[in-house]
Symmetry: C2
Subunit: 264 residues, 2 copies
C-alpha cells in the first residue's frame, strides 16, 4: 500500500526518512507543516554563523539552533534526530562537496551545531491559499533563483551576496503577496524587490543562477524574495573545514504548522 | 547655555557622554531616536547569549552585535564607541556588581562582544503618539517590572524567568496598544499578557520586583510586555566571570529612528 505523504504529519515524514524508506525531494509533503533548511557547523564556527543569520534575518530566518553535539531540534520537532530525519544531505570539506548521503550518522561529532532555517514553502502555501498563483509550482519546476548585487551584512568569516527567488505576478497579486508574506517574517517575509531585475544586478531574468527559468507573462512583474540559498552560499564561500547541509529540495520536516509562523 | 537634550540627535547624546558631561538617565533624551540596552560578555560566552536572545526574541530583541574586541556598534550607530558613549555602566564579576563607572576604557578587552538590545522607550513613544497614555511617565516614576512564572527558553549556560513590565490600560486602549506595539517586534513587540496577574505568577501588582508601583484605576487592565531586564537577569544568574551592562535607565542612544524599527 502506498502511503500518501502529502497528508502525512511532519513526524511521519521524519520517521520514513529515518527508516531509510524516503530519500526523495520534499515539496508537497506533509502539507501545512513547516519545512526547513539545515546547516550544520562545528562549534567554533557557530557564533559567526548565528551572527550572520541575526544580521540577515530575511534570507536566514532561524527557527532552531541545537546545543553543540545534540542532534535533536527540540524547539521545532520533538524526538527528532537531525542525523537521520532528512531524505538526503550534503557533506562539505573546505567548501568542497564530498558526499551526498541519506544519513549522517558516520559524520556526526560532539562539537556540531545545527541551524534549522525557515523556507519559502511556508509562504507559497499561504500565497496559494490566498489565490495568488505560484508559477514554478504550476509549471512543475524548481523556483528560479538569482545572485544579486545586494551584499549581506557580513559577520566574522561569513559574507556574500543576497540570493533571491522570483515569482512573476500581476501588480494586484504583488500587492496581495506582500500583505500575505509580511505575516511570515520567519519564512523570508515580504518581498525584497518588485520589478526591474537590473536594479538588483540581475542581467537576464531568463537565466537564473540556480533552479529553473519560469515564464514572465505580459503585464506581470518579477517579484523577488530573500532566499534560503543565501546562507548556504555564505557557508560554501567561507570554506569551513567541515559542514553538512540538506540536499537542495530535500528539507527537514518540523512539527510546526505553517500558521505557527504567522505573526511577529 | 543649557543644551536641550530632548531635541538632540543620538550622536549628540553619545558625544556628550563620551566627553563626560552627561552621566544621567536617558528617558526623554533625543526623542525619536532608538535607545537600547547593552550587555557585554567575553567571546566564549557570546554564542550561548546570542542563542538565548535568538530563542527569546520578545524580551531580547537584538539590534546589533559587535565583532569580538570592536567597541563600535556599526549597524546602529556609526563612529560609536561603546566604551564611552553611555552615561553610566555596571561592571560584574562572577555575577556580583563591582563597579558603576561612567566609562569602561580601563575594563576593555580584545575578547569582548557587545549586544545592543531594543528597549521599551521605542514603543512607549509610539503609544503616546497614538493617544494611549503611559501611566509611569504621567506619574514620573520608573516602570513597574515583575518576575513571572514563565520560563525563558534556555540556551547553554543561560536560563531564567521572563521579566515583564506593566502599563495599566482601559480595554479599548489595550487593543490599540496591541496593534501599535505589534509594529515594533524589535522593541519587545505586542504584549505577552493582559489581565489577571496571578495567571503569570505575579501575586501582588502593587509590589513590583523592579521599578516603581503605579496606580491601576477602576476599569483598567494591567497589560504586560516582555522586558529588557530579562536578558540582564539571565546574565547575572549565569554568573559569567566578567560582564558589563548599562546602568539601569542609562541607555545607549543609537542613530536609528523609532520608525526604523517598524515592520517585520
Amino acid at each position: 500500500m502506498l502511503l500518501d505523504f502529502s497528508t502525512a504529519t511532519g513526524e511521519q515524514v521524519r520517521a520514513a526518512c529515518r527508516a531509510g524508506v524516503y530519500t526523495s525531494p520534499t515539496p508537497g509533503l506533509a502539507l501545512g507543516y513547516v519545512q526547513a533548511n539545515l546547516v550544520i557547523l562545528p562549534r567554533d564556527w557557530a557564533f559567526d554563523f548565528l551572527l550572520f543569520c541575526q544580521r540577515n534575518p530575511k534570507p536566514c530566518p532561524v527557527l532552531d539552533v541545537t546545543e553543540p553535539g545534540s542532534p535533536e531540534a527540540k524547539l521545532v520537532a520533538s524526538d527528532s534526530d537531525l542525523r537521520t530525519d532528512l531524505p538526503a544531505y550534503r557533506v562539505w570539506r573546505n567548501g568542497e562537496l564530498v558526499e551526498e548521503p541519506t544519513d549522517i550518522n558516520s559524520h556526526w561529532r560532539d562539537d556540531l551545531v545545527s541551524f534549522v532555517i525557515g523556507c519559502s514553502f511556508t509562504f507559497e502555501n499561504a500565497l496559494m491559499a490566498a489565490g495568488v498563483p505560484v508559477r514554478h509550482i504550476e509549471q512543475n519546476v524548481n523556483v528560479p533563483m538569482y545572485r544579486t548585487n545586494i551584499n549581506c551584512k557580513p559577520a566574522g568569516r561569513f559574507n556574500g551576496p543576497l540570493v533571491v527567488s522570483m515569482r512573476p505576478l500581476l501588480p494586484a497579486q504583488a500587492v496581495k503577496a506582500t500583505q500575505v508574506c509580511s505575516r511570515f517574517p520567519r519564512a523570508h517575509g515580504a518581498p525584497v524587490h518588485i520589478g526591474n531585475p537590473e536594479a538588483i544586478g540581475i542581467r537576464d531574468i531568463s537565466k537564473p543562477d540556480f533552479g529553473d527559468a519560469v515564464e514572465v507573462r505580459a503585464g506581470e512583474l518579477p517579484v523577488f524574495w530573500a532566499c534560503g540559498v543565501t546562507p548556504q552560499a555564505a557557508v560554501m564561500s567561507a570554506k569551513p573545514p567541515f559542514a553538512i547541509t540538506h540536499k537542495p529540495g530535500h528539507m527537514f520536516l518540523t512539527d510546526l504548522k505553517d500558521t505557527d509562523l504567522e505573526g511577529e
